[in-house]
Amino acid sequence: MTAPRTLYDKIWDDHVVHQAEDGTCLLYIDRHLVHEVTSPQAFEGLRMTGRRVRAPEKTIAVPDHNVPTTLDRANAATMTEDSRIQVEALDKNARDFGINYYPVSDVRQGIVHIVGPEQGWTLPGMTVVCGDSHTATHGAFGALAHGIGTSEVEHVLATQTLIQRKGKNMKVEITGSLMPGVTAKDITLSVIGATGTAGGTGYVIEYCGQAIRELSMEGRMTVCNMAIEGGARAGLIAPDEKTFAYCMGRPHAPKGAKWEAAVAYWKTLFSDEGAHWDKVVTLKGEDIAPVVTWGTSPEDVLPITGVVPAAADFTGGKVEAAQRSLDYMGLTPGMKLTDIKIDTVFIGSCTNGRIEDLRAAAAILKGKKIKDGMRAMVVPGSGLVRAQAEEEGLAQIFLDAGFEWRLAGCSMCLAMNPDQLKPGERCAATSNRNFEGRQGRGGRTHLLSPAMAAAAAITGHLTDVRTLM
């Protein structure tokens, strides 16, 4: 009888190709997702050494970071020269190396972390990597998924493996149920608020508990997406009937007898009773409020009912960092978070660009108008999310409210395309990072849920969405 294992232990064990005496492992990679920003140097490396892509059928590429999201993007002039070169390089690399590809012109194009699950590439028990830290998203399926650098992208392309040392096991349990107006985004931000941005460093987090079980697959992806913001390379959620239902019938999910065999295997993917955890964090679902960030680190999280803190409220190196954040964000300690005025609203990203996110925002916006002078945009996570939202009438709600209705891409989450903040502009964003300059030099970012972003768009300031429900 083997010792009780965590979900992470089980997936790890099933992917070890070779283990060296010092514990360094060669880990097999089931799915390799690729985008245009972190891959050109890796493909160039293959060319220079005459190497091929070992498993092109397990390699999936889609351009997302640079692509314009305006309706005229088929016109190459909407892209800057350097962006265009990166996207064209991916076109060429996908063609030359024979990998699966969703070009900008394909309706299935979108953010790599939304396209992977949507097309059924991401399945429970797999190892999934991508040259992007938000690869953690795929952990929602009970897949071991994490970001890698470009040298590792090249390594996976050439060998379909990664050299890894095993991380530690951390359990994050959310007990009970969420209160109305509280979403997956509030869970994941609240966990980071509790652990800090380095709290998960060296760990793989498994999220569990009733509140996690009660989330849809979309919500679970939102939770795992931000594991990296808590320092953990990967977040995991054990697969269950909701997971299987989501995967069933997707283009690259197994069919027939293979499906039956897959589900039987997937049902073994859970942490055993008595498995060892190196760290445990527990939050009560009912204690979690709708939250926003006030500073320039995702750990700078407070319930919307709170006030802006002072640097003196912190200790150690955080005192200087908090003061720097307050100066950058142009905030005064003691002011109510709901008094912070917003001029831009961004709904989208791999964190909150899925259909459920658009439904949540549209539910708040229905029959309402955004504040005069507000710049508000919805950027669906994929062409298919966009099509579904149009079919459900959500697009019309956004347009009637005064939002721009865009094509799919990463957009203003990291502002590599033309969607950027100007210095001093202040954005309520459903994305994942509020770092200095993230959405444009001098731009100020408050992270929140799609429903909270919609509320801010209506009132013109950070708003407790529960007052509009």
Binding site: Q86, D132, H155, T201, G317, A415
Partner: protein, 201 residues
């Protein structure tokens, strides 16, 4: 990859915690298809004004630190994205070693792939090194990877830990891919087993 054995150089103090990858190399410089040339944009938004003038207070703009090869940093250095452009920019500027109490995982890993040595030290040692770095250009720190020690300008020496495999690769300037391809038979065998066990994958 350049070998890393022993380095004596100027250490720049950067005590701010959570220095993220967007600070190290902002996204507008990720639109390159090359690895080189990013050094001039290292810490771009901390280092230059909007019109490109140097901000004199920023540590790497100060005369004493313009040719720094080591950074002594606050907690959780390199948090944020997986962009390898961050170590590429550090390397292109001339930084070969970063010392902090903690690093973000992906950044830490990316450093080793590029001949940069990230060293984790306890707070009290980082405090000593930070104070030493603040002395300026005459205070040269020595990092000896073979002996696994960091020595301050006044001769205080501290031991550090490093993974054996990574140390071996750094000292010899080895390419991981070449090493892994030597295990191609193990990968083939794994794939055969896996196709039987998990045919859908």
């Amino acid at each position: 990859m350049d070998k890393f054995t022993r380095l004596t150089g100027i250490a720049a103090p950067m005590p701010l915690v959570n220095i993220d990858t967007d600070m190290i190399i902002p996204k507008q410089f990720l639109k390159t298809i090359q690895r080189s040339g990013l050094g001039k944009n290292l810490f771009d938004e901390m280092r230059y004004t909007q019109d490109g003038a140097e901000i004199p207070d920023f540590v790497l703009n100060q005369p004493a630190y313009r040719s720094a090869e080591i950074i002594i940093a606050g907690d959780n250095f390199g948090c944020g994205s997986s962009r390898e452009h961050a170590p590429w920019a550090l390397l292109d500027f001339g930084i070969r070693c970063v010392i902090s109490t903690s690093f973000a995982d992906i950044f830490y890993n990316n450093c080793f792939k590029n001949g940069i040595l990230p060293i984790v030290m306890p707070q009290e040692v980082v405090d000593v090194l930070m104070a030493d770095a603040r002395k300026g250009a005459n205070a040269r720190v020595t990092v000896d990877l073979e002996a696994q020690t960091v020595t301050t300008s006044d001769g205080q020496s501290f031991a550090f830990d490093v993974d054996g495999h990574r140390k071996h690769c750094l000292i010899n300037g080895l390419d991981d891919i070449g090493l892994t391809l030597e295990k191609a038979a193990s990968i083939d065998a794994f794939e055969s087993r896996n196709t039987a066990l998990r045919p859908w994958a």
